[in-house]
Amino acid sequence: MNCEVCQLKELEVEHFEIREVLRCILHTIVFHRALGLVRPKDVDLELFEITYVQCGDVELEKKIDEKIDHFISWVEKHPNKKSQICLSFYEVKSKQPSWFTNKTERLYWEQWYINLNVTQHPKHHSSKSHHTKLVVDPGESATEERSSRRAMVEASLREVLFQIIKFVNEKKDHVPPISEGVIYFPYEITIPSSSDSAFGMDMIKRMLHSGHPTMLS
């Protein structure tokens, strides 16, 4: 089974928007992969005029929030950096145990790459007022700039959500069959770790677990 990879459009967000944006994207993807019996839960974003859907599973919500917290911590240590969060769905396959591999292996059949560019809050023009003679009211310009920027982020987020919907609609064959009593497929959220090299190590670990040559692509 091939692993379908979806690279989502990069979003330029500010620090305070990370949580809502990631929640929206991650829950939307997981909802599409929660093929068990669910009672969908509508959640309105506070920062944007977008309503996304959750599975309604408390444990899932907790795990996602934990990962988002880790990611935010990483962002605070690595400001102004492009980052990528990987949401992977896998199947657990038993494997013959060897001395450097586990008994079970994860067979990743789908990976979603969420690309974020976390930017700092732009400074106001007032900070440079001493260089300019023209006195500009920082309040109004900052508000307008903020609102326009917010609209842009919202539009980008909508695009990402529609990208997810289109991907889900176009590629259905690779999705494993539904198991009885399973709400959602096993998943894994990978965030950048403290060092860049560790991210590559995570990829190598994934390859070892899956043992699939196509994981290198």
Binding site: P40, E59, I165, E170, I178, I183
Partner: protein, 675 residues
């Protein structure tokens, strides 16, 4: 053979059932997110969390129909009604039109026509002015407007020539399970998509705000619909869900939608664009110290406000003395606009709170004069005042003018609707009758302390621009940003009500031009010229032609009734008149007896007095000096030769005059000292 046929029949039946349930489920997902008050959105708050560990318990609460496609949703009556449509064996297309229906509103003024605003707005934005199903007249209140903002297509394309009965059972099962999985994925994406489209914002606002709007979303399910025009299809965007192959065809799902409806939903809830009414008059009976509370900007709920809010005060205008007229500032009106308007809609005020109360037929006059600022007199029928923000209230010009005439004071509560705890203002609803503020009426002097908050010149001028009858005159009024000066306004005597204010001493925020506020008959010039025949005391001052005795008597009466100078810096005997008095007195003494001469001299002297409105203490002091001079003159000439025949009368007159004059001086001595 038989078993194969049976199995095939069973598979076909299952397939048919799956397709039918897909129709129903997709219909349910669309309708429950477009029908008001029937939504799994509300249901989700009380949902049971489904988890692998609690699957058994959750399944017990799951209805059989919820298990289809593993998506538990709340039942939707409109979807159930159309279930038969879904169960058609030939799987005819199901079309769901989501219609934005605009209810007709009966707005009074033609200028305030939210329906037409929405129609214009939609027309300008979507360029589908012809798409509305009803004709709109200027008032826009005759027919409801409908606009299809979404059109969903659910249909099964049959594929002829394919024998779905063929194949083994295992492949059929695999096909069925694969089909079922794919349909689950399609429905998941459908569920997410309906919440991302613009129409969902309208649905969410309608359900969450709880307001009774003049528009609503009406989903309409049918098999056959009129095709949209080419222009409409061009303006609308289409989203295709990837069709899912079935054994006999494929299931297709698509939607046509407007991408700009979100703009309309954010505007259409407001009844009108915020307008600045600079001369908004608030409630005079409301707590003068209470500020109108700020309104919630988004999704305000004016429907929950009591209907009396629109009547921020109530007074019986049939009573003799209307209450204080409080002029509320324009921010109150903006708040009231925000109250009745919902940020998610434009031009559509909530039904429960129309901007113009029906019992105020005189309300909402759009005159450019102060009418707009006047409280409606018909609010007397309203409940107790609750000065929360509401629509501006209007009263006609006549009522306000009368109110101002009869009110003791007219606090202008514009910038900061807080009035001091003035005894003249607090807790009063009906002030005792007070004499009109006219010069011509001699009356009790009264000091009213008025705290006038800041106000703009334009507003004040407008408020008082009506005044042909009212005699309040204010001058030197400028915008006071912070101060609320306490003004002692003396509305007293006949002499000069306009003179009551010493403008240099009491900065008054009112600035009314001379002659603008005053009754034409009460202007100093006209007053001097023609006096006021209604007032005998004042009339006597100008009777040059009366007898000397009558003149003295008039003077005596005038002095007796003259108000204290402390409260009435009224009399202003100009300096020019004093020399005239003195000069006039001399030539007349030789003609008649001394007493008569004195009296006669007094008459022209008095007659020559000009009741010129003096506004300075200097003038008052000059007056006093004049009185003193007169006194000395009287005393000196009274003690001179009297004719024998006139001794008694002269003595009587002179003594009377002296007594009266002394009393007057004594009475005002303290006031003069104070000045």
């Amino acid at each position: 053979m038989t078993s194969t046929h049976t199995n095939s029949h069973t598979e076909a039946a299952k397939m048919e059932q799956v397709i039918t349930e897909f129709f129903y489920k997709s219909l349910l997902i669309i309708l429950e997110s477009r029908s008001s008050y029937v939504s799994s959105r509300n249901y989700s708050g009380e949902q049971i969390v489904s988890s692998p560990s609690s699957s058994s318990s959750s399944s017990s609460s799951v209805r059989p129909r919820d298990k289809w496609f593993n998506l538990a949703l709340r039942e939707c009556p409109s979807a159930l009604e159309n279930l038969d449509l879904c169960r058609q064996s030939n799987f005819e297309p199901v079309v769901v039109d989501v219609i934005l229906e605009q209810k007709p509103l009966d707005w009074g003024p033609a200028s305030f026509s939210p329906t037409s605003d929405i129609v214009r707005n939609l027309s300008s934005k979507n360029k589908n002015s012809y798409f509305w199903n009803s004709d709109q007249d200027e008032s826009g209140s005759e027919m409801k407007c409908e606009k299809i903002i979404e059109r969903w297509f659910v249909h099964h394309e049959s594929r002829k020539g394919r024998d779905f009965n063929s194949g083994n059972r295992r492949s059929s099962c695999n096909n069925l399970s694969a089909l079922y999985k794919k349909l689950i994925l399609m429905l998941r994406s459908l569920y997410v998509t309906v919440r991302l489209l613009p129409a969902y914002n309208i649905f969410r606002d309608l359900n969450s705000s709880g307001l009774i709007r003049s528009f609503k979303l009406v989903p309409r399910v049918s098999s056959f619909v009129e095709p949209l025009t080419r222009k409409e299809e061009v303006d609308m965007q289409r989203f295709w869900f990837t069709p899912v192959d079935t054994s006999c065809g494929r299931l297709c799902l698509s939607v046509l939608y407007y991408s700009s409806i979100s703009d309309m939903s954010s505007e259409s809830s407001t009844p009108m664009s915020p307008q600045f009414i600079p001369d908004y008059v608030g409630s005079p009976l409301a707590d003068p110290l209470r500020r109108f509370p700020s309104l919630p900007v988004s999704h305000g709920s004016p429907s929950s406000l009591p209907f009396s809010r629109r009547h921020s005060w109530s007074y019986d205008h049939y009573k003799a003395s209307p209450p204080l007229v409080s002029f509320s500032p324009s921010p109150t009106h903006s708040e009231s606009n925000a109250l009745v308007s919902n940020p998610s809609s434009r031009g559509l005020p909530p039904m429960s709170l129309p901007p113009h109360p029906p019992e105020a037929p005189l309300a909402h006059k759009r005159d450019t004069n102060f009418d707009e600022y006047c409280p409606s007199p018909s609010f007397s029928a309203s409940p107790s005042p609750s000065p929360s923000p509401s629509v501006p209230i209007y009263i006609p010009r006549t009522h306000l003018s009368k109110a101002l005439l009869r009110s003791e004071s007219a606090p202008v509560n514009i910038a900061a609707p807080k009035l001091a705890n003035s005894p003249a203002l607090s807790g009063r609803q009906n002030l005792p009758p007070s004499p009109p503020l006219k010069i011509t009426r001699a009356g009790t002097s009264r000091t009213d302390n008025i705290r006038v908050p800041a106000e703009t010149d334009a507003t004040i001028e407008k408020i008082f621009s009506f005044g042909k009858e009212d005699c309040w005159k204010y001058s030197g009024v400028k915008a006071f940003s912070n101060s609320s000066p306490r003004i002692s306004c003396s509305r007293s005597s006949s002499r000069s009500l306009q003179d009551d204010f010493d403008y240099s001493e009491f900065p008054c925020p009112f600035d009314v031009e001379d002659g603008e506020m005053m009754d034409p008959g009460s202007r100093p010039e006209s007053y001097v010229r023609r006096g006021n025949p209604s007032d005998p005391n004042e009339a006597g001052l100008f009777m040059n032609r009366k007898s000397p005795d009558a003149a003295v008597g008039a003077l005596v009466r005038m002095l007796e009734k003259a108000p204290p100078l402390r409260q009435n810096v009224s009399l202003n005997f100009s300096e020019a008149s004093r020399p005239e008095i003195l000069s006039n007195s001399v030539p007349k003494q030789s003609q008649i007896s001394e007493a008569v001469t004195v009296e006669h001299a007094a008459a022209p002297n008095i007659a020559s007095f000009r009741l010129v409105a003096s506004k300075t203490t200097t003038d008052a002091l000059e007056e006093l000096r004049g009185y003193k001079v007169m006194k000395n003159l009287l005393l000196s000439e009274g003690g001179k030769a009297y004719t024998s025949s006139n001794v008694a009368s002269a003595a009587e007159h002179s003594s009377t005059s002296k007594e009266v004059y002394s009393k007057f001086l004594d009475k005002n001595h303290a006031a003069i000292e104070g000045l």
